[in-house]
């Protein structure tokens, strides 16, 4: 069980960090969310994993540590609020800055070789047309 649990935390953290390093706000927020899931699980495990134990001291010999559960609860609530805030903020940034890049700068659109050639041709054509017009005048 310990191995599965730690594997879960590890995979969530890795995915979260990978997504957080992306340049657009939406993947970054997803990354933050995954990271906060990982954190919650990790906190939960900090009181050691107990199977079939109530989180009440004194009820039986075998009990789970109640404190990490309280901590996780707090962390989840705070995480919710923060995620909601960052979502609204990124929508606002999308509106204010005109794009969804984290640093607010639009990347130059990538053009394929075909498009490049076409664009070049169109520009040439329009330049030629202008020349023709001028010559006629």
């Amino acid at each position: 069980m310990e191995f599965t649990f730690s594997l879960g935390v590890g995979v969530l953290t890795t995915a979260g960090i990978y997504l957080m390093l992306r340049a657009q706000t939406f993947p970054v927020i997803l990354g933050l969310t995954l990271l906060s899931y990982a954190v919650n699980l990790f906190l939960f495990a900090s009181g050691r994993l107990t199977v079939n134990g109530a989180a009440i001291v004194g009820q039986s010999q075998h009990y789970a540590d109640p404190l990490p559960q309280a901590l996780v609860l707090t962390a989840i609530v705070i995480g919710f609020a923060m995620t909601a805030f960052v979502l609204i903020l990124s929508l606002r940034a999308r509106a204010d800055l005109g794009n969804d890049q984290v640093d607010g700068r639009e990347l130059p659109p990538e053009r394929s070789a075909m498009e490049e050639a076409l664009a070049g041709k169109i520009e040439k054509n329009s330049a030629a047309q202008k020349k023709n017009k001028r010559n006629r005048n």
Binding site: V39, S46, R48, L89, G104
Partner: protein, 495 residues
């Protein structure tokens, strides 16, 4: 009443913020202004009362809801934390006054947010439980997220996106660290942790070290330590003037936490974990200072310049945290109070300059003169003297105390040159800034806008506090010495 004194700095802003959102006060700015100022005064009174109480009778422990540790969560008021509370409350009062002039018309909820921000900051100073430290960090952060974007605009939004994402990542790391701490120490009470640090199971020591280093990253992000400081200049330069002034204390929350956690819990008595952050702190603090100095020299606007000077002051403070002797902490505490007040003053002044200079704002370019050149120029001159650290204003004493603390240590060559060069850079840039803003002018200022009396009162209050720190230097240094000693000896006692 008296035994409930330690909780008042939390209760007052909490209730004040809530009341300001409720009908008789909500949506009527004049009432909000008066009520906000009244609440801020009340808070200052409570903080000062607490300070006097603690100074006379020693530190106080307050168990919330009478739940004793280890089950309950405690507040601990000692000299260091109450001193920071008084500083916060005073700053809040000035900021509240300043924003009552016209800043609060640019967006909603400025006054309640200021209260919640103060709640988070004072909570972080007063708590004796490291998980509660996290909770109060989040309180102050979410208030600061909203404050930073107050008034709106592309600049603020962009700065805020970076600030929020970075801090959310920081919070996640903080929680990881807390999980490790609980798993290895078995407690989250700071006093308890300090006592148990030396007896950690040998198998867990490496884990505990990893947790301690994670905490260093988190507090480094809060205090703008070297590789984690790039968010600061943009955020502080974009923030509205009163918000930037209140933020002047936020980086100090990080420094405070470093003292509490790496100076005390992982301090000299921590066995294998003793002084674990020291080898990292030295180069990082030094590089923070150096990069701060370079950035200072490259600043293009007054707000950016002051923001970079914040980094320089953080670098100096971090050096003192790394040195971690009683004199160093005492000197750093004096300097911390001074630099918070001085940078807040400069941010407010920059706000006035922006207001009066039209389109040129506070950029270092030729433009029309400000409407009140003599007044603003004079205040700027005094504020600049304070930031540079020239006598007769308090910056000189602060820097002298820090340099003196380094005199007997082996690291003097690490400490003296960057601090002194930092002062030189501040001198060069602030003279350039003042010369450009107030003397390189053309045309006339026909705009009738003058500084609002409330703004002037706020600025003058901050200005007066600096010479007051010189007049009371003896008392204050005695107090900071005691605070430093107390912090190193004991303990946020709770058990």
């Amino acid at each position: 009443m008296l035994q409930h004194l330690p909780v008042l700095p939390l209760l007052i802003p909490l209730l004040a913020g809530t009341l300001l959102l409720m009908p008789p006060l909500a949506n009527t700015l004049p009432r909000q202004r008066w009520a906000g100022t009244l609440f801020a005064l009340l808070q200052l009174a409570a903080a000062v009362a607490l300070l006097l109480q603690v100074h006379q009778h020693g530190s106080l422990m307050y168990a919330m809801g009478e739940w004793r540790p280890p089950f309950g969560i405690v507040l601990v008021a000692d000299r260091l934390s109450t001193m920071m509370c008084v500083l916060t409350a005073f700053l809040l009062l000035c900021v509240q006054l300043y924003s009552s002039a016209n800043e609060d018309q640019k967006g909603k909820f400025l006054h309640p947010l200021l209260m919640f921000q103060a709640l988070g900051i004072q909570g972080a100073f007063l708590t004796g439980d490291i998980f509660n430290l996290f909770v109060f960090f989040e309180v102050l952060l979410i208030a600061s997220y909203a404050l930073l974007i107050h008034g709106g605009g592309a600049q603020k939004t962009l700065a805020n996106v970076h600030y929020v994402i970075l801090n959310l990542a920081g919070s996640a790391l903080f929680l990881f660290a807390l999980g490790i701490m609980y798993g290895t120490f078995g407690t989250l009470n700071m006093a308890d942790m300090q006592q148990r640090a030396a007896q950690i199971d040998a198998n867990d020591v490496q884990l505990a070290k990893a947790g301690a280093m994670l905490l260093l990253v988190v507090f480094g992000l809060k205090s703008a330590m070297m590789p984690l400081h790039f968010w600061l200049p943009r955020a502080y330069a974009a923030a509205p003037a009163p918000v930037a002034a209140l933020f002047a204390i936020m980086t100090k929350v990080g420094i405070y936490s470093l003292w509490r956690v790496h100076g005390t819990i992982f301090g000299d008595s921590a066995g294998e974990l003793a002084n674990i952050a020291q080898p990292w702190l030295w180069p990082l603090a030094w590089l923070t200072l150096v990069l701060g100095i370079i950035a200072t020299l490259a600043s293009k606007t007054l707000r950016e310049l002051v923001a970079n000077l914040v980094i320089v002051s953080i670098g100096s403070l971090l050096l003192m945290v790394a040195l971690n002797t009683r004199e160093a902490t005492a000197g750093a505490l004096y300097y911390l109070v001074h630099s918070t007040l001085a940078t807040a003053l400069m941010f407010l002044l920059a706000g006035l300059v922006v207001q009066q200079r039209g389109k040129a704002e506070d950029r270092f370019v030729q433009s029309r003169p400000v409407a009140q050149p003599a007044l603003l120029g004079g205040l700027f001159f005094l504020g600049a003297l304070a930031l540079i650290g020239m006598p007769p204003i308090s910056g000189f004493i602060g820097k002298a105390l820090m340099l003196k603390a380094a005199l007997t240590s082996h690291q003097i060559l690490w400490i003296w040159p960057p601090i002194l060069v930092g002062s030189l850079a501040a001198l060069i840039m602030l003279s350039r800034a003042g010369g450009t803003l107030f003397w390189r002018t053309r045309g006339e200022n026909t705009d009738p806008a003058r500084a609002h009396p409330a703004q002037l009162v706020a600025v003058v209050l901050l200005m007066l506090s600096l010479p007051l720190m010189v007049v009371l230097a003896g008392t204050i240094t005695e107090f900071t010495q005691l605070a430093a000693e107390e912090m190193r000896m004991e303990v946020k006692s709770g058990a």
